[in-house]
């Protein structure tokens, strides 16, 4: 594998990852912007608007036909929250020219389409196309409504809303009213704002070099007046003076418990290892005790949310919530008291080692790895990253556990039982 990153414009990075085992070419353009730009709902729609048509291929249907002719090539958009920023990703992927059955130049066609989607979108009079806009707006509203369909995700979202109240992340929870206020004109303004101000990271993963790709972006962005900003992607979330508890009732069969704990530690490696020991694997303390020993649940797990937050979740019967809660804190106490065996430390190191050794087995993994490292402000190899975990001591994990403070607890309770 050959990785290189070059700067092709004002705050614009272009990373090339060449790995000859792949039979596809993948492009990922990531626009990083602030969460309080006033355009968060517009940006949610923008990722879809940019990928469903462009200045030459005007309709969604025509765009899809074109992708089919190019052997299931794909272009897609996605918007998500990374730390304290909003990231709008435009992706494209296609099979290499050597697999074309009729000698088509798939790569050339795709680069032209990508270029037009980003630099020459389907707009008129400073507004996006209204027909496509309506489709995207309905999808966004339906997406917001459908969060309730997945009770686990819904519970996590509700817990995060409380945990990050008053912080920029709060803006990432888009409400129906926000989506309804968006117009084709406001999406266009968001598009202009994004091109002008965002930090941009582009990734190209393919089996062989193609300088035409970086040149296309270099030229495209050189025609835009940039006034880019540098964003702090991660910073610690303030710990509440008094933990907040939220209970919501719905007619469900299984209750959900979400706990968010915050730390004042800056040691992200120790936090990460702590979360894995506590509830990140099927041999973790929560799995072995809350599930296996007490049979209270099907899942009880923990994960690290950068920068200083861990999230614990479980699905349990209402009458067992307190028992599960007590056992979770009992296990945290065990860690605080130094009850971490050498086997547990080794298991975490081995799991991390194994996982990092597989980085790069798919194009998406490569992009995720390098973008994640970029956001963390530390572009290092998986091997260097692994070394950092190896240097974490048991004592630092214990100290981190001691620094954890309950911040938010959220309970989704079976309505009939609670009445």
């Amino acid at each position: 594998m050959n990785y290189k990153r070059e700067v092709i414009g004002d705050n614009i990075g272009f990373s090339t990852i060449i790995d000859e085992k792949f039979n596809t070419c993948s492009l990922s353009v990531k626009f990083i912007t602030e969460l309080d730009s006033g355009y968060t709902a517009e940006n949610e729609m923008l990722s879809g608007m940019l990928s469903m048509s462009n200045g030459k291929i005007k309709s969604f249907s025509e765009m899809n036909k074109t992708m089919q002719e190019l052997y299931a090539a794909s272009i897609s958009g996605r918007t998500n929250t990374v730390g304290y920023t909003q990231v709008i990703t435009f992706s494209a992927s296609w099979i290499c020219n050597r697999f074309a059955l009729e000698n088509e130049n798939i790569t050339e066609s795709m680069l032209e389409i990508v270029h037009d989607c980003i630099f020459s979108p389907n707009t008129e009079n400073s507004a996006f196309d209204s027909k496509n806009f309506k489709i995207c707006q309905k999808c966004l509203i339906d997406d917001i409504n459908s969060i309730l369909n997945d009770k686990r995700e819904y519970a996590i979202m509700q817990a995060k809303k409380t945990a990050f109240k008053g912080e920029p992340i709060e803006n990432s929870f888009i409400e129906i009213e926000d989506a309804e206020k968006v117009t084709p004109e406001s999406v266009f303004k968001a598009y202009e704002h994004l091109l002008e101000t965002s930090q941009i990271e582009i990734f190209y993963v393919a089996p062989e070099e193609n300088t035409a790709v970086s040149e296309m972006f270099r030229k495209g962005f050189s025609e835009i007046t940039r006034n880019s900003r540098q964003y702090t992607i991660y910073s610690n979330s303030p710990i509440k003076a008094k933990p907040e508890k939220v209970t919501e009732e719905l007619p469900v069969n299984q209750s959900k418990m979400i706990l968010l704990l915050k730390s004042d530690s800056d040691d992200s490696y120790a936090m990460n290892m702590l979360s894995i020991i506590l509830g990140g694997t099927p041999v973790s303390k929560l799995f072995m005790n809350v599930r296996e020993k007490l049979s209270l649940c099907y899942y009880c797990s923990c994960r690290y949310i950068k920068n200083n937050v861990i999230l614990i979740e479980s699905g349990v019967d209402k009458e067992n919530i307190q028992k599960a809660y007590d056992e979770i804190f009992n296990q945290i106490e065990e860690i605080r008291n130094g009850n971490i065996s050498e086997e547990e430390m080794q298991a975490v190191i081995k799991a991390i080692d194994d996982s990092l050794s597989g980085v790069g087995d798919t194009p998406v993994q490569y992009v995720n790895w390098y973008f994640d490292r970029f956001c963390a402000g530390e572009i290092i190899t998986p091997h260097q990253y692994f070394d950092k975990f190896c240097s974490v001591t048991k004592e630092s994990i214990i100290d981190t556990a001691k620094s954890l403070k309950p911040d938010t607890s959220y309970y989704l309770i079976n309505k009939e039982i609670s009445e």
Binding site: N23, Q68, Y71, V283, S295, Y298, E343, A347, D354
Partner: protein, 427 residues
């Protein structure tokens, strides 16, 4: 033991197939340049296999719903330790799943694959069931059942299957019910284990950064030879008709979701069934792809959103073409789909659409070769379906628009359709 190299005429990719002396079918795909390994050790045993006998049995045994899934959970407990503890020593990610027609034990790793393969082959061949560990699992699986009962997509599917199938056990939930799993005990688990976990009914599929000789040496060492037990699974007779055409349930959801299923005939011959699966996939894609007239019309009229999609769901004794998505007007979707098929029956399949969909399938198959897990899963899938590892890849190019036309005309008729809807509670 017999060994053959099987090569796809379409992609040029090869795998090794070994019929091991133990009775196990082994599929190995060495993938140069990849770091990871993905392995599945699977049996043709899933939730539909509720009635069976071997050549040693006079009578058929009928077992409680959900027992194959229960057995999968229990195999992770050895007499001396849990299997996850063994994987923790290597860093691998171990898992398993049970579906309608299979149970598969999986590991993925980037290091120590030989150790992980040893763990996998060893624990699946070493059941340990006791009264205590069965009772403990009932609480855990009870919670898993409650969790899936809150999953509207899951309910949508099983409501549709219940409205479609009168007798076939595809209509029962994979995990069973809290009541049915209460009937499960250690003896029953051993009975199912000895019947279905016979190596003649199983396969190992492994792909990625592996060496064929190393894999086979470990198999030689650890696989315990099995006599073919003459396994016979039976299913009750199933009429062509559906139970009812519409089924609706109200749940606390944010959007109304639907599945429109067409009950189709199944083929007894596995290759015919596999070819029919491909034909059905093309038939459903003709109207569900994002460029189709139907899709364009429904999305522009705000009747569907971009979640609209289709799939084919088939196995031993069941075959369903499904259209699904979010819509506040699912009956309109049903009507529009039926009209679209009726148009095709009248006017024939559009050759240009057909040609493009074949390009899509070809491109997707090429892409799959980029992914170790997908390659290994695909080989296992084809074993379970009793077809060669590249049968589907190599067969799709032979499918004609006439095959697709005939399928639509004979199978996708409105009287065989079931519309399952989950509506918002309170509407």
């Amino acid at each position: 033991m017999s060994k053959e190299i099987i090569t796809s005429k379409i992609t040029g990719d090869s795998c090794i197939h070994v019929k091991h002396k133990s009775g196990l079918d082994i599929y190995i795909r060495e993938m140069k340049g990849f770091s990871s390994v993905y392995a599945l050790f699977g049996t043709k045993y899933g939730s539909i296999n509720t009635m069976f006998r071997t050549s040693a049995d006079k009578e058929y045994t009928t077992v409680p719903e959900g027992i194959s899934h229960f057995l999968e959970h229990k195999l992770f407990e050895n007499e001396d330790c849990g299997v996850f503890e063994l994987y923790a020593q290597t860093g691998a990610n171990g898992n398993a799943f049970t579906s309608f027609d299979r149970t598969c034990y999986i590991f993925s790793c980037s290091k120590n694959y030989t150790k992980n393969l040893r763990i996998l082959l060893d624990f699946v061949q070493k059941p340990y069931f006791t009264k205590e560990n069965v009772e403990k699992e009932q609480g855990i699986i009870g919670q898993e059942i409650q969790m899936t009962n809150d999953n509207p997509e899951w309910r949508l599917l099983f409501n549709m299957l219940k409205a479609m199938y009168h007798n076939h056990p595809v209509r029962i939930d994979i995990a069973g019910t809290v009541d049915s799993i209460a009937e499960i005990d250690a003896d029953l688990l051993y009975k199912c284990y000895s019947t279905f976990y016979n190596l003649n009914n199983m396969a190992l599929s492994i792909a990625g950064n592996v060496d064929e000789d190393e894999v086979l040496a470990i198999c030689d060492e650890l696989l315990k030879p099995c006599e073919d037990n003459g396994l016979e699974t039976v299913f009750p007779a199933e009429p062509d008709e559906v139970v009812r055409n519409t089924i609706t349930e109200k749940l606390p959801v944010g959007t109304t979701i639907f599945q429109l299923g067409y009950k189709c005939h199944t083929e007894n011959d596995s290759e015919k069934q596999a070819k029919k699966y491909l034909v059905a996939s093309i038939a459903s894609m003709l109207i569900s792809v994002k460029s189709s007239d139907l899709y364009t019309r429904l999305i522009e009229d705000n009747i569907i959103n971009t979640t609209f999609d289709s799939e084919v769901f088939a196995g031993n004794g069941y075959f369903v073409v499904i259209f699904s998505g979010e819509s506040e007007k699912p009956e309109e979707v049903r009507k529009a789909v039926a009209e679209e098929f009726s148009k095709i029956v009248q006017n024939g399949v559009c050759e240009d659409d057909f040609r493009r969909i074949k390009k899509v399938i070809y491109g997707s198959l090429i892409r799959q070769q980029n992914n170790v897990a997908v390659v290994a899963s695909s080989m296992m899938n084809n074993y379970i379906n009793s077809i060669g590892p590249f049968y589907d890849i190599d067969t799709f190019s032979d499918i004609t628009s006439e095959d697709v036309y005939n399928f639509i005309k004979t199978e996708l008729t409105p009287d065989k359709s079931v519309l399952s809807v989950i509506e918002k509670a309170g509407d």
